[in-house]
């Protein structure tokens, strides 16, 4: 597969490490009432869609960017690649 890195252009899959569902960006509040349940769900409950999936990939043999790659798990078509940092900020993550 080729991943079109937003900063570096198309790079071979072999340069990357995959983590999985991009939902891992949405880490719950540790002080929430039901923090244990929220963290359980955050860590263990993932969708495994046959189709488009937003995934976290790490450019380990490259610039060390974490990327959010939207990939069709049936065809391996990659429809969008974003810097995970931008996605995280857009989802309200800060400090």
């Amino acid at each position: 597969m080729l991943i079109d890195h937003p900063l570096l252009g198309p790079r071979d899959e072999a340069e990357f490490v995959i983590l999985g569902d991009a939902g891992l960006i949405d880490r719950p509040d540790w002080q929430a009432e039901d923090a244990a349940q929220l963290f359980h769900d955050y860590l263990h409950l993932r969708d495994n869609p046959a189709g488009e999936h937003r995934e976290l990939w790490f450019h380990e043999q490259g610039d060390r960017s974490w990327l959010v790659v939207t990939r069709n798990t049936l065809t391996h078509e990659i429809v969008r690649v974003e810097l995970a940092r931008d996605v995280a900020i857009a989802r309200g993550r800060d400090r």
Binding site: W30, A36, L43, R93, D94
Partner: protein, 982 residues
């Protein structure tokens, strides 16, 4: 003229003669020959034995689809079994042996299998070798193994080298027949970056084997001219002798180029190259493969595919026989008769299954329309055939054509299924093709030369248009549409004797019928029950015929019956090519520590730690056992001073205004109060609350920290920290960089470590206990101004330091430390001594931090802060991980001090049965303590702290040991840490 069957013309170079040996017999051929064509030219018809029945077999095809003519090529360690003679270029001195027989090829002792064939039909193995059960290992398996397999491996290491490479192009064209050449010309003339790959050593595909005309000249000449033009284009790369073996995602293709297989030796050059080709578009112009017709005795040497017989005559100038017959269901088969007649080969008969007017005039030939061949004769080669009408014909070669199958393989590598097209009576590419792939010519079912040329041209124009590139406009090369009509015809029902479908795996029509009777009717079941298509040729000439017969049996259409999947590789790829240069020591990179050469000169024994090679111990003269070396290193370190290269520990440089806050969230224990010039031990949890790494972090400045991780987790910790930085807390001002390789670091441990370092650290730095106490750190000059960092940390439990310098000074520092230590008797120590000392101190390492342990188990529950947000703290509070009677890290010593201990032993109460229910924990690490004079161990045991002094059993079922051990605290030496603070 070499050989009695050599004809005039062709593309062999008669000016040179090549000598070769087959089964020890000396023969000759010419450049341009394959081993198969040279054997046929010499009249060698019997070239091997079949897999199961050991039937005599001869050359069947003229290409990579060959099921029969497999040989062992070359000798000694270079021997390569199952090499297809049909694609092996002849070279001077070639040596080949036939394979798969016992005794001699002509008198194969295992040919007895053929006599008992009625017992060896489909499912034979599954039915026969079931009973008695005990016979499988002792009798059946050894017997089957002895008679199975085709050629023999040399059993030696492969002496050749292989490479891997990467290529990029706008357009990859697979196959250099008329469609591929027309496509390459259009794209190349337009200036596109083109790669044209073909498995043959001469480009041109069927044009090299036919007498068709292109642009008014012979097809072979036109192809040669096209190749010359393409070779002159800077942006076109020609890859002859290259098989595109698979289609991967996003236009990536795998290809095997055979660089020196056509030479007597590789001469130090890579024998083969496995290319990874990145293409923006691809055109599959892989042509088609002829299929046979099944009839009685159709496996005899001399029965060949008609297109192959034509290729041998036209291209290789070889007559496959002196008296040839044709058996066909289509117009193309007639072309073989016409071409042979033109070449002066006697064509004795043309038998067309279709009841119609002859498609061509063949002088002197007996023409039988509506005819059937029902049987053949001839022990080691064809002598004649019998027709359904009872007529007997004397023939030494029968050319058979059952029509052509498009080579759809690469269109199916992403799960696409070919579709049956009734009008061409063949499977053609369907949906689900790899993205960016177009199909042109016979691969797509367009069987005429004119259609192939036009489709190739058009496919190139369309592909480049889609990329915004221009292809040369204009007309495709011209040719006429030859007659290609075919009537589906799969096997002769009136056959006498077995009718073969899969020649290599000996699958007959009867086997398919039997599979149907016994319920194995889906194509996937059929394949596995009969082994159809499972040989090295993957059934390229066999599968469709067998499907057709299954369709007849079930009463369904072929379209409904479907095909099995095609997966890469298209043809076999040697394991050596996949390995490339990654063999032996080079299987993966070796990371060497800065003192590696120094240690090697001292005779160190090395151990792999991930990719690193670390000194394990340093044997000295007179030491014959590793324990002697390790005990000495430990004693001398604890007694005076020892030095160990600890560069392999991961080092991460952390800087930024929020670096401290960031660390406070990465480690489970607090880092908010760490002062400049201090080091702190830190524990890391996974988000699920389990411990996964530990190490120290030093604060060198207000906004500058240096972290160490364990050697094995260095990459993972860095990855996770980048995740936290970019994805969880993108607003924190913090930056990370790995500095593992940039800094050499040495532990200097033992009561004389300060005295030693006083001689190495520049004098302006005060390293007295008062000025530089335990857990101090700072930037220092060493050896007269070299930049260094000094950390007062201890893994050994002794007064100890770690000193770091830029990696380029590492070896010099090692030498300086050893020289300075000479007056103290300083030793270099390796990872074994390091391990002994950490077990003596009860420090957790990889055996304890194995991903299944909690902070509480490690006795570090107080290191999980509940007052801050950090990775893993929420889920570390799960009740099951905090049970009062949970596993706890403890020390163990044998009640009988002379007993050795073993890691992996499980703890049981005295007298308890060794069953899982009674398991109380396990031993994680053991060592022999030179200081205590007996074995010691660390391990996890339930409720350990409350049980100090209790005796349990360390039961080791694997090694058959059962040792009484006493539970003790994990700190065997200096429990209050007086040494390291001194």
């Amino acid at each position: 003229m070499s050989g009695p069957f050599r004809l005039d013309g062709g593309a062999v170079d008669r000016s040179r003669t090549l000598a070769f040996r087959f089964d020890g017999r000396s023969l000759t051929g010419h450049p341009g020959d394959t081993l198969a064509s040279a054997l046929l030219a010499n009249g060698v018809r019997l070239v091997g034995r079949s897999f199961k029945y050991h039937r005599p077999r001869g050359v069947f095809t003229a290409g990579s689809e060959e099921p029969n003519a497999l040989v062992e090529l070359r000798s000694d360690a270079h021997r390569e079994p199952n090499t297809r003679a049909t694609v092996t270029e002849l070279f001077d001195g070639l040596e080949a042996w036939s394979q798969n027989y016992r005794g001699s090829l002509r008198r194969d002792l295992l040919a007895v299998n053929d006599l008992i064939a009625p017992f060896l039909s489909a499912g034979f193995y599954y039915k026969t070798f079931m009973w008695p059960k005990s016979f499988w290992e002792k009798v059946y398996e050894p017997a089957i193994r002895a008679s199975a397999g085709l050629g023999r491996l040399s059993g030696e290491a492969d002496p050749d080298s292989y490479d891997k490479g990467f290529l990029h192009c706008d357009l990859l064209i697979v196959g250099a027949g008329p469609a591929g050449l027309a496509a390459a010309l259009a794209a190349g003339r337009g200036g596109a970056r083109v790669i044209l790959a073909d498995e043959d050593f001469v480009m041109g595909g069927r044009l090299t084997a036919e007498t068709h005309e292109v642009n008014g000249r012979s097809g072979a000449d036109w192809a040669a001219e096209a190749v010359r033009e393409l070779a002159s284009m800077d942006r076109v790369r020609l890859l002859p002798r290259t098989t595109v073996t698979g289609a991967w995602d996003h236009g990536i293709y795998g290809a095997l180029e055979r660089r020196t297989d056509h030479l007597a030796g590789s001469n130090g050059k890579p024998r083969q190259i496995l290319w990874r080709i990145y293409s923006r578009r691809a055109i599959l112009a892989a042509g088609a493969t002829e299929r046979p017709i099944a009839f009685g005795g159709n496996d005899r040497p001399g029965v060949m595919l008609a297109g192959a017989v034509r290729a041998y005559a036209n291209r290789f100038a070889v007559g496959a026989g002196k008296r040839v017959g044709l058996f066909t269901n289509n117009d193309d088969g007639w072309r073989t008769a016409a071409d042979l007649a033109r070449k002066g080969v006697s064509v004795a008969a043309v038998i067309d299954v279709r009841d119609r007017e002859p498609a061509a005039e063949v002088p002197g030939a007996r023409i039988v329309t509506g005819g059937r061949v029902t049987a053949t004769r001839g022990r080691h080669g064809l002598k004649g055939v019998t027709l359904a009408n009872g007529e007997r014909l004397a023939l030494d070669c029968l050319a058979v054509s059952g029509g052509w199958n498009p080579n759809v393989h690469l269109t199916c590598h992403h799960g696409g299924r070919p579709v049956w097209r009734e009008e061409i009576a063949a499977f053609a590419p369907g949906d689900g093709r790899p993205g960016g792939m177009a199909v042109a010519g016979a691969a797509g079912g367009a069987f005429t030369t004119a259609a192939a040329l036009a489709e190739g041209h058009r496919a190139a124009v369309e592909a480049l248009g889609g990329l915004g590139l221009s292809a040369a406009a204009g007309e495709p090369p011209g040719a006429s549409d030859e007659a290609v009509e075919a009537a589906p015809f799969w096997h002769v029902r009136e056959s006498r004797g077995r009718a073969w479908l899969d020649l290599q795996n000996d699958v007959t029509v009867k086997d398919v019928e039997q599979a149907h009777r016994e319920g194995f009717r889906s194509v996937e079941h059929l394949k596995r029950y009969t082994t159809l298509g499972m040989a090295t040729d993957q059934g390229k000439t066999a599968n469709v015929g067998a499907l057709a017969i299954m369709a007849e049996q079930t009463g369904r259409s072929i379209a409904e019956t479907g095909t099995t999947m095609f997966r890469p590789p298209y043809t076999p790829v040697p394991i050596g090519a996949f390995a490339g240069r990654s063999r032996g020591r080079e299987f993966q990179p070796s990371r060497l520590t800065p003192s590696h050469d120094w240690a090697a000169r001292r005779g160190a024994v090395f151990v792999e730690a991930g990719l690193w090679l670390r000194a394990q111990w340093f044997p000295q003269a007179g030491e014959t056992h590793w324990r002697q070396s390790v005990d000495r290193e430990v004693r001398q370190t604890r007694g005076s001073v020892g030095i160990c290269d600890v560069t392999t520990l991961g080092k991460i440089d952390i800087q930024g205004r929020d670096a401290q806050e960031f660390l406070n969230r990465i480690y489970s224990n607090g880092f908010a109060t760490l002062a400049v010039g201090k080091v702190r031990y830190g524990l890391m949890l996974r988000e699920d609350g389990m411990a996964y790494d530990d190490g120290t972090t030093a604060r060198l400045g207000e906004t500058h920290f240096v972290m160490t991780t364990t050697t094995v987790n260095a990459v993972l910790v860095f990855r996770n920290m980048e995740f936290a930085r970019q994805c969880l807390w993108p607003g924190l001002d913090v930056h990370l960089i790995s500095a593992t390789e940039q800094w050499a670091q040495f532990a200097v441990a033992g009561p004389n470590s300060r005295a030693l370092l006083r001689k190495v650290v520049d004098p302006e730095h005060d390293i007295s206990n008062e000025a530089f106490p335990f857990m101090a750190c700072g930037e220092v000059g060493v050896c007269g101004g070299a930049p260094g960092r000094l950390f007062r940390i201890s893994f050994s439990g002794e007064l100890a330091y770690e000193v770091a310098v830029p990696a380029r000074y590492g070896e010099a520092l090692m030498e300086a430390l050893m020289a300075a230590g000479e007056e103290f008797g300083a030793v270099a120590y390796g990872t074994e001594a390091l391990g002994v000392m950490r077990v003596e101190k009860g420090h957790a390492a990889a055996n304890e931090l194995n991903g299944q342990t909690t902070a509480r188990m490690l006795g570090m529950q107080r290191m999980v802060s509940k007052r801050k947000d950090c990775i893993g703290n929420v889920l570390s509070e799960r009740p099951e991980m905090n049970r009062g009677d949970g596993l706890e890290l403890m020390g163990f010593r044998p009640v009988d001090r002379s007993e050795p201990l073993a890691a992996g032993a499980h703890f049981l109460a005295p007298g308890a049965e060794a069953v899982t229910e009674n398991d109380e924990g396990w031993m994680t690490s053991v060592a022999w303590s030179p200081e205590l004079g007996h074995s010691i161990g660390l391990g996890f045991i339930r409720n350990g702290h409350a049980r100090i002094g209790e005796t349990v059993r360390a039961w080791d079922g694997v090694r058959g040991r059962d040792v009484a051990v006493e539970i003790v605290p994990a700190h065997f030496l200096d429990p209050d840490g007086e040494r390291l603070r001194g």
